[in-house]
Amino acid sequence: MPEPRQTLRLGVCGPVGTGKSSLIATLCRELGRSHALAVVTNDIYTDEDARFLRSAGVLDPERIVGVETGACPHTAIRDDVSANLAVVEDLEERFEPLDLVLVESGGDNLTATFSPALVDAQVFVLDVAGGGDVARKGGPGIERADLLVVNKTDLAPHVGVDLARMVADATAARGGRPVVALSRHDPDSVDRLAGWVLDRLEALRAGVLEPQDPGPMPAHTHHHTHTHDHDPAPQTSSAGAARA
């Protein structure tokens, strides 16, 4: 078996403006001294996010690269990841040894998630300002991303959102997968986020991180009670994705 890769490729996706770039900046601040990082952004116009992150001064600007998606941000992280993969590989080679490459998706909608061909793990970011109902409505990222972040918790009182309720809805929708309620103004929440990332890095290096595909489609869930046969072994699957 080949050596497990040493660099964790972590996707960050979620709707427009929920705080993906800010979360990446927070991670760079938090982990930048102890770990070697790089960032890839996917934007509608090339480099808004890349420029934001460069100007945040949290990382050597050369380690932040923007990818053009031809106005197809879904395609670039899912059906055809070649442009992103090339940039990730170049960063890994140029700044070897890297611990973490963060890939930000073009802020889009609830359905866009990363292909496991591009990232080892992915974070889906919602924010309280998008409304308390979003978590309950679900979707592939909300339900099955490796981590769900409910962001900007400091704003909850100002936008009339019951935070505890929103986090409970999210947790219920996720069948036990982790949820972090985050605010960049709340150091404990930032610690929890960083801790989760480092845990995934450790899992990758231990060879026990199998990339999961949240899928573009509703999952096959078992809310019904009748039994039916399943194939004994998990099938390797091309995600069978419809194009964005």
Partner: protein, 239 residues
């Protein structure tokens, strides 16, 4: 099991299974498919800077025709000559040098290297038994990789040239739908009208075997736009 079962991915390639030979026509369809995951959606064939610098959206068919007579013709000819060299043990470095000499814009060469890299990744996965693709050591210029893929796949020279020309047209017209107001059906009307020009390109290049015969009709305005685009910051398309 209670866990929701989303698609279970695997990063590992499926074991290579011997494949019966497919027709060149079927292989051409495979390679001309816009859904091929080789980064085509990031490309406008130079249309984005062209529109920004004054090309009228009505000029799209003319723009495609110009490309078919110039840069796309060089690309198709290079692919054809590469496929011939790959089959006959020719000198691929020499082919690369001839292509590079006829592609004076370094922005266009970089684009070709990026696209060829993605195509090489695909070629190695789909034709894992091919030694040229597996041991590729040349720069990954797209027309060279495409020619090598054609040789590995068993794509005839004329089909290879047709795929190259057709892909160029589709790249421009599909990007046009993102960049300028247009009816998607009009893009198909234009494509149909351009097919004879694609066939003319095929006639011109499919018999080539000598790198010295690769046409070098350059398109200085397209090259200048490509150079300018590589230095802008707000762009939808890589090139």
């Amino acid at each position: 099991m209670e866990t929701p079962t989303g698609p279970v991915p695997s990063r590992r390639a499926a074991p290579a299974v011997p494949v019966a030979g497919a027709s060149s026509h079927a292989l051409a369809l495979l390679l001309a498919d816009a859904r091929l995951p080789v980064g085509g959606h990031t490309q406008s064939g130079g249309l984005e800077p062209a529109l920004q610098r004054g090309l009228s959206p009505d000029g799209l068919p003319g723009y495609c025709r110009t490309r078919l007579a110039t840069v796309a013709r060089t690309e198709a000819a290079t692919a054809v000559v590469t496929a011939y060299a790959a089959r006959h043990g020719g000198d691929l470095d020499l082919v690369h040098a001839h292509w590079a000499a006829r592609t004076p814009s370094d922005a266009q060469r970089s684009t070709a290297y990026e696209l060829g890299r993605a195509l090489l990744r695909l070629g190695r996965r789909v034709w894992p038994e091919d030694p040229l693709l597996a041991g590729w050591s040349l720069p990954t210029a797209r027309p060279l990789v495409l020619g090598a893929v054609a040789a590995a796949a068993g794509l005839a020279a004329a089909d290879l040239a047709r795929v190259t020309g057709y892909d160029d047209v589709q790249t421009v017209l599909a990007a046009g739908l993102k960049l300028a107001p247009a009816d998607p059906l009009q893009a198909v009307v234009w494509t149909r009208q351009l097919l004879p020009a694609v066939d003319a390109l095929v006639d011109a290049v499919h018999g080539l075997t000598d790198p010295a015969d690769i046409p070098s009709g350059s398109a200085p305005q397209i090259e200048e736009w490509a150079q300018a685009h590589a230095r802008t910051t707000r762009r939808l398309f890589r090139a």
